[in-house]
Symmetry: C4
Subunit: 285 residues, 4 copies
Amino acid sequence: MSNEPVPLSPWRVKLHEVIFEADTSAGKLFDFVLIWCILLSVFMIIMESVEPINDKYGELFFWTEWVLTVLFTIEYILRIICLGKPFKYIFSFFGIVDLISILPTYIGIFVYGQGHNLVVIRALRLLRIFRLFKLVRYVDESRVLINGLRRALPKIVVFIGAVFTFIIIIATVMYMIEGSHKGSEFNSIPRCMYWAIVTLSTVGYGDLAPVTVPGQIFASMVMLCGYGVIAVPPAIVTIGMVESFRAKVDNRSCQQCGSEGHEPVAKYCYACSALLPESHDKDGE
Amino acid sequence: MSNEPVPLSPWRVKLHEVIFEADTSAGKLFDFVLIWCILLSVFMIIMESVEPINDKYGELFFWTEWVLTVLFTIEYILRIICLGKPFKYIFSFFGIVDLISILPTYIGIFVYGQGHNLVVIRALRLLRIFRLFKLVRYVDESRVLINGLRRALPKIVVFIGAVFTFIIIIATVMYMIEGSHKGSEFNSIPRCMYWAIVTLSTVGYGDLAPVTVPGQIFASMVMLCGYGVIAVPPAIVTIGMVESFRAKVDNRSCQQCGSEGHEPVAKYCYACSALLPESHDKDGE
Amino acid sequence: MSNEPVPLSPWRVKLHEVIFEADTSAGKLFDFVLIWCILLSVFMIIMESVEPINDKYGELFFWTEWVLTVLFTIEYILRIICLGKPFKYIFSFFGIVDLISILPTYIGIFVYGQGHNLVVIRALRLLRIFRLFKLVRYVDESRVLINGLRRALPKIVVFIGAVFTFIIIIATVMYMIEGSHKGSEFNSIPRCMYWAIVTLSTVGYGDLAPVTVPGQIFASMVMLCGYGVIAVPPAIVTIGMVESFRAKVDNRSCQQCGSEGHEPVAKYCYACSALLPESHDKDGE
Amino acid sequence: MSNEPVPLSPWRVKLHEVIFEADTSAGKLFDFVLIWCILLSVFMIIMESVEPINDKYGELFFWTEWVLTVLFTIEYILRIICLGKPFKYIFSFFGIVDLISILPTYIGIFVYGQGHNLVVIRALRLLRIFRLFKLVRYVDESRVLINGLRRALPKIVVFIGAVFTFIIIIATVMYMIEGSHKGSEFNSIPRCMYWAIVTLSTVGYGDLAPVTVPGQIFASMVMLCGYGVIAVPPAIVTIGMVESFRAKVDNRSCQQCGSEGHEPVAKYCYACSALLPESHDKDGE
C-alpha cells in the first residue's frame, strides 16, 4: 500500500468536510446532532440502571437505544467510506471508541439468543458508557490541563508507589496493634490496607475505625503524617503546570544550532551565541 | 432618552451623597445602619427556621421583619428618587438584589390571602436570604481574590467537566462490581455517582461504602487516584493568582539595556540606572 | 518614670543572665528544667481528664500539681525581681501567660472554700492548659512559617468570610429541599449550616447526610464546587510564603533615599538611581 | 584495619559484579529474580493474615516462606563474601534490612520451641514486612521527590508541632463544652484530641461527633480554621520542591553584564553573548 494520498471522488470529499470539519454549517449541524445523541445515550444508560425508572420507561429506552445505535452505526460506516485510508481510522483511538459504542447492542441480541445469563448481558450493555469518549473529539480546551498533568504524571506514579509501600507498613503495624483485639474489625492486613488508604487520602468513611486506645493513638499519628502526604501531589502538579506554561511562553529554536528552551528575554542563543529570532510570545492563553 | 446627564435639584444631590458615598458622616451613618439591618435580617431568617425558637419568639420575628422590610423599601425608593436615570439602577445587579430583598414579604401576604399551601410560602420567605448580597457593596478587599479566581475559573470548569466524566465511568464500573450483590446499596448508577463524588472529593460521609472485597479494592484504587485529582485545583488557582499578581507588577523594559521585571514604583533601571518609561499600570484588570 | 535604663545590682544582673539568656550553662539548665516542667504539667492536665486514670493517680496528680505551681510561682517572682522595669514584663504577652499559668491553682482553693459548683472549678483548672504558651519562648524556627501565614492572614479572613456567606446560601437551599421531608434531619437552617461546613471543608462526618434524591443531587453539586473552594487557601498561603521568602532574599535599603524591596540582581536604586550597597544574600537557610 | 582497598580474588570480583551491578545480563537476571522474590514474599505476608485464605493455603505459605528465606539467606551470605570490607555493609542501612528480612523466620522456630505465646510469634513474623525496604535499592527516580521533601521536612515538623499544640487547646475547649454533657462521648481530653486530629486533618470518620449545639458551633469554627491549617503543608512542599528544582538550574552570572538565571546547558550569556564560566552543577545534593 503506497503512502501517496488516494484521490477521492467529489462526493466523498464533500462527506469528509461535513463529518471531519466543523467550519461549514453542515459540519456544525452534524457535530451538534452527534454530541446530543451521545449525551442522550449516556443519560439513558444511567437512567436504565435505576429499577423503578426502568420498569416504567423500559420500552422507551429500548427503542431509543436502537435508534441511537443505528445512527451511530451509520456514522461509523460514513466515516469509513469517506476516508482514503480507512484502516488508519479503524485502528486509531477514535475508531475503536466508535466501534465499541455500537458493538454491545448488537452482541446483546446474539448473546441473549444463546441464553447467556443476565450478569454477562448487563456488563455488556454497560460497556456502552464508553460512548462518553466520543466527546473527547470536541474538547480542545483541556489540552493545557492535560499537558500539565502529563508532565506531572511520572512523579505522581512514583509518589503513589511510595504511598502504597507506606500503606503496607501502616497496615501491618495497625494489624499488630488491633488485630488480636476482640470486636475490632482490623482482622487482616488487606482490611487494614483499606483502612489506611481511606485514612491517608482523608476520605474517612468511618466504616472502619480503631477501637482500642493504642489503635487510636497510632491512627492519630498516621493522620498527622497524612498532612505531609496529601501535600505532595498539589506541589507536583503546580510545578508541572508552571513548567508547562513556561514552555509555552517561548518556543523559539536557534536557527543555527537548533537548541530550544530559550528564556523570553534572551536575545542570543545560550549554546552558540547566534542571534535569536524575535520573541513573538502572545500574552494570555 | 438622551445620554446627557440629567441636572438634579440640590436635595437630590444631597440625598445621593448620603446614600451612595461613604465620605461624609451622614453617608457613613447610613451605611452603618444598613449593614446592621442586613445582618439582623439574615440572622432572623436563620433563627426563624429553628422550630423551638420560632415558637417562642415568632411574634417578635414577625414585627421586626416588617420594620426591616419597610426600612429596606424606603431605602429602595430613595435610591430610585435620587438618581437621574433610575432605570439603569433598577436593572443593575444591586437594583435587582434590593428588589428581591423586599418583594417576598409583600408577596407573602398576597399569597397567604390566596390560600396557597405552606411550602410555597416558606420557599418565598427563604428567598429573603439573598439580602446577603446587599453586603457585597461593602466588601472591596475581596477584589484580588475574585480576580485570581476569575482567571482560574475557565480551567476549573473544564476540570470539573473532566472529573464528572471520570465519575460516570467510576460509577458504572462500581455498579458492575457491586450492583448485583445482595445487601450492597450500590443498586443504580446515579447512586454510584453520588458515592463517587463523595469519595473523590475526599468528603467521605460513609453513608455508602463498598461491602464486597472487589468493591473495596476498586474503591481503594479510586481513592489513590483521588490524590491526583484533588491536586489539580490548588495548582490551577495558585497559577491563576500568581498571574494576577504578576500582571499587577508591570511589563516595562529598559530602553537602554532591555532588562525586564521592574517594580511598578521603579523610576530607574536596576541594571543600568537609565530612566524608565512612565509606569502605566491600571489597577485591576 | 524615666526611660533611662535602671542600674541593677550585680546579683540581679547574674539572675537576669540565668533566666533570660541561654548562653551560659546555668541558663541552659534553667531552660531545660522549665521546658520539662511545662511538658509534665500539660501531660498531667490531659491525663487528669481521663476518669479511670484520675481515680488511680489522683493524689499523685494533686501533689505534683502543687510542686509545679510552686516552681512556676518562684520563676514568676524571680523574673519580676531581676528586671529593672518589671511592669513592662508583667503586662507583656509572656508576663500574662506566666501569671495565668499559676493563678488557676490558687483560685481553685479559694473557690472550693466558697463552695462553688464543680463545673466552674473544672473550667478553672483546665485554664492551666495555657501553660503551653510558655513554650513559645523556645521555638524560634517557627518565625518564617508565622511570617508567611501573617502575610496570608488578611486574605484568608476575607476568604473565610466569603465561604461563610456561601455556606448560608447553601444551607438555605438545602433547607428548602430537605427541610419538609419526614425523616430528614435537615430541619433547621443552623443544622444545614453545620452540614454545609462539614461538607465544604471535606471533613464529612456522615452524622448528617441527605436522604432524598434532590438533596443528594444538590449535595453532589456542592461537593464538586468544594473542589474550587478547597483550592483557594493553599494558593493564598503558597503566594504569601513565596513573598515572605523573597522579602528575605534582599533586605538592602538605598543609602540615598531609603527605598526598599530591591531585587537581588539590582545594582542601582530603582527610585533615585544611586548605587546600591553590595548584595550580601546568603543562600538558603 | 587499613583503609587500603583489599585485593579480591577473581571469582569474588565476578560475584560482586553480578550482585551489585546491573549492567551485565547476569546482574540484571539476579536483580529481576530478587525483586520478584521480595514482591512474592510481601504478598504472602499480607495474604497469610486473612484467616480463610491462611486456613486453605497455610501449608503452601509455610513452604514458600522457607524457600524464600533460604534464598534471602544465600543472598545475604554472598553479599558478605564478595565484599572486601563486609562490616561496612553489615552495619549499613541495607545490611540491616537484609538481616531483618531473614531473622524473624529463624527466631520463629526457636521461640516456638520455647513455648512462647502466639502474639509474640505473630508480631515477629509480621516484622518480615520490612523486606519491602529491600526494594528501595531499585528505585532511583524518587530522588527528586525525596530531595524536595527533605528540604520541606524541618518546616513540616515545626508545622506538625504547632498543629499539635493547637490540637491540645482545641481538645481542652471541646472538653469544657461537651465534657459534662450526658450522652456525649467527649469525656476525656485524649479522646477530644483524637477527635480534633480526625477533624483538622479533614478525615472525619464520624465515630465521634459533637451532639450539643455549642459543641457543633465550636466544631464548625474548628473546621473553618482547618481551611487555613490544611493549606500550609502544600505551600511548604511546593516551595521546597521549587527550591530543589531551582538549585539544580544554576547560579552563574555573566562576567560581562552580570545577568543571571542561565540554564545549566548554557555556554553563552543570553543578554550579551559573552562566554559564560564553566557550569559546575553537581547533580542532587
